[in-house]
């Protein structure tokens, strides 16, 4: 009967019936399912309130198994037009006066705690689905958060968007006052950027080592000219976020200014950062840089493979990354593919030479918003895509470090408008999947299969 209970997921009533009438058949069916590859997953729980407009979820897990989630809160359903009056004089029009909310799901509890606001004053967050915040944890149980925020430059008096960091050292009960990661800019680029921002120092990324080294990156318009290219900046803390080194201009103004940055660590000293360079005639080229010495130095950007995507516009496309032993994995949208979609590629960390890419979801008419996470050699990719109908969330496991992938699976999400998946892993080797359903944040566990028939 215990076996029957573990199967009470999507087809609860059917399984109960089977248990009552044909227990042997039910157990056999369960063994078949587990033995062939279908992962079992608990029902999802909501992290945000139903009457709030929540976007852009991300999750992380501490060693005690607590799931930590953050997201942008855009206000109550029906609440219109936040003016941003809190930002002294600020009325910029690249505007998003959101809040950053945090909630945690303690092991053994039924769901998430009530959420708390991370930004000190309401509306201080520059929040869109495509400018996600980032959350990460370390072995000390510290919770690290970066997010894009609104502000007024003390040098120009104009509205700017900046990158902020905050952390919790008490398991998420409280968060410290946010610190601004980027330096203030001297230039007023309002005429160039338009939309009301004098500078944009956002699309912030972060990776945190188990030992507590905090690596932050952002795209920065300082030095931007008519060619509309941003620089990539880096700032690091070696003491769990208590203090940060000075910012470093990692890449000159050759970066797509409205693309997203991502970062991932491997062990105590290996670090990868992915951004999208502008090469040639406005080709938006995803690339990965590696540091083998904990951020002291970085190698040259290495392009991830794919059809050159020429675009003078805003791709707003994140390159998801993950590591398995000795390998770096990249999953990124390419608008030049036909149909446009996500390309997966991997490279050995020792030479950073990416193998030819493959479409992660060949049947999709369009696929986007990638996320990846790994446990040992098990790799999980998630994304949103359209096949024949509305946008849905899909995922796919590799059990051999990206050599091959199991078939694409669809996350059952009912009739909601869903998207923007995010992933994390737990100490007991489970995956945590978060996503946006309408404008409510949902979270569930997804377990890797023990085996399965892979598609190469």
């Amino acid at each position: 009967m215990a076996a029957c209970n573990t199967m009470q997921t999507k087809h609860r009533s059917a399984v109960k019936r089977s248990c009552g009438r044909f227990p042997i058949v039910a157990v056999a069916a369960m063994l078949f399912i587990v033995g062939t590859s279908a992962p079992h997953a608990a029902e999802s729980v909501a992290a945000s309130a139903a009457d709030r407009r929540a976007q852009a979820p991300v999750v992380a897990v501490t060693k005690d198994g607590t799931v930590h989630a953050i997201w942008f809160d855009k206000g109550a359903v029906g609440e219109a037009d936040r003016k941003g009056a809190h930002v002294d004089g600020g009325r910029h029009s690249h505007q998003a006066f959101a809040d950053l909310r945090y909630a945690r799901w303690l092991p053994g509890s039924a769901g998430f705690s009530d959420s708390i606001r991370i930004n000190p004053k309401p509306g201080q967050v520059w929040g869109f689905s495509i400018s996600r915040p980032v959350i990460a944890t370390d072995d000390q149980g510290r919770i690290h958060i970066v997010y894009p925020g609104n502000g007024i430059s003390p040098k120009t008096g104009k509205s700017v968007a900046s990158s902020f960091y905050s952390r919790s050292i008490d398991g998420g009960q409280t968060f410290g006052a946010p610190i601004q990661l980027n330096g203030d800019a001297d230039e007023d680029l309002s005429a160039l950027i338009m939309g009301g921002l004098a500078q944009a120092q956002v699309f912030t990324a972060m990776a945190v080592s188990e030992q507590g080294a905090v690596h932050t990156f952002w795209l920065d318009t300082r030095g931007m000219t008519e060619s509309m290219r941003a620089a990539l900046y880096y700032r690091r803390s070696d003491d769990g976020g208590a203090h940060f080194e000075d910012e470093v201009r990692l890449q000159e103004n050759d970066q797509c200014p409205c693309c997203q940055v991502s970062a991932v660590t491997e062990g105590p000293s290996s670090l990868f950062v992915s951004a999208r360079q502008i090469t040639g005639d406005n080709i938006r080229t995803p690339s990965v840089m590696q540091s083998a010495d904990g951020g002291e130095s970085f190698g040259a950007p290495v392009e991830t493979p794919g059809t050159p995507w020429r675009l003078e516009g805003c791709p707003l496309k994140l390159a998801a990354m993950a590591t398995t032993p000795d390998t770096i994995h990249s999953l990124v949208h390419n608008g030049a593919e036909d149909p446009p979609g996500l390309l997966y590629a991997r490279a050995a960390q020792r030479d950073m030479s990416f193998l030819p890419p493959q479409k992660i979801h060949p049947e999709a008419a369009v696929s986007d918003s990638p996320a990846m996470a790994s446990i040992g050699d098990t790799l999980l990719a998630a994304w949103h895509a359209k096949v024949d109908g509305p946008r849905r969330i899909f995922y796919r496991f590799s059990l051999d470090g990206g050599e091959s992938f199991l078939p694409v699976q669809t996350l059952s999400t009912g009739e909601s408008s869903v998207g923007y998946p995010a992933l994390a892993t737990t100490p007991d080797r489970r995956f945590v999947l978060a996503w946006q359903a309408n404008e409510v944040i949902q979270v569930k566990f997804v377990d890797p299969p023990r085996s399965g028939v892979a598609l190469r």
């Binding site: 855009k74 219109a80 690249h94 869109f128 149909p339």
Partner: protein, 169 residues
Amino acid sequence: MMRRGFAFLWAVAGLVVASAALASDKHDPAKLVPMDREALRRELSISQGSVVLVNLWATWCTPCLREIPDLLALESELPTNDFRLLAISMDDAYSAGWVTEFKAKHFPSLVSFINAELDMDTLVSVIDPVWNETLPTSYIFNREGEVVKKVQGKKPIEFFREQLAEAGL
């Protein structure tokens, strides 16, 4: 007298038809009109007979903002009964207030709608079910209401002139 009466009726009927066909021009440029899926279908339907350029823009998309003056120039140089610029802001509809202010300041003559759906994809799927949420994106419709060109990224005005000519203008 009878003939004069018929002429008057024809003139009235013609005005009604023309005003329906040029629904966009009835919108006050100072206002940003919310647009959901049904409204988009309706606007496209009543625009049949004209070549239509649907332009998706947003205040946070700098290349979009740099493209709009060219689109307005096209609108002014093309015959109003033959061409329609149908601009749709992809900004959050909850922010319609300040987007209206922004538009009034920078593009006061631009007649624009604003997405009223929950997300960008829901609205744009009416035109393009496989849109990849990249801005700016424009769609050129021929007089039969068919999409004949999808344009992504900012393009020079001459490019649009050529595409509109190919669409029948």
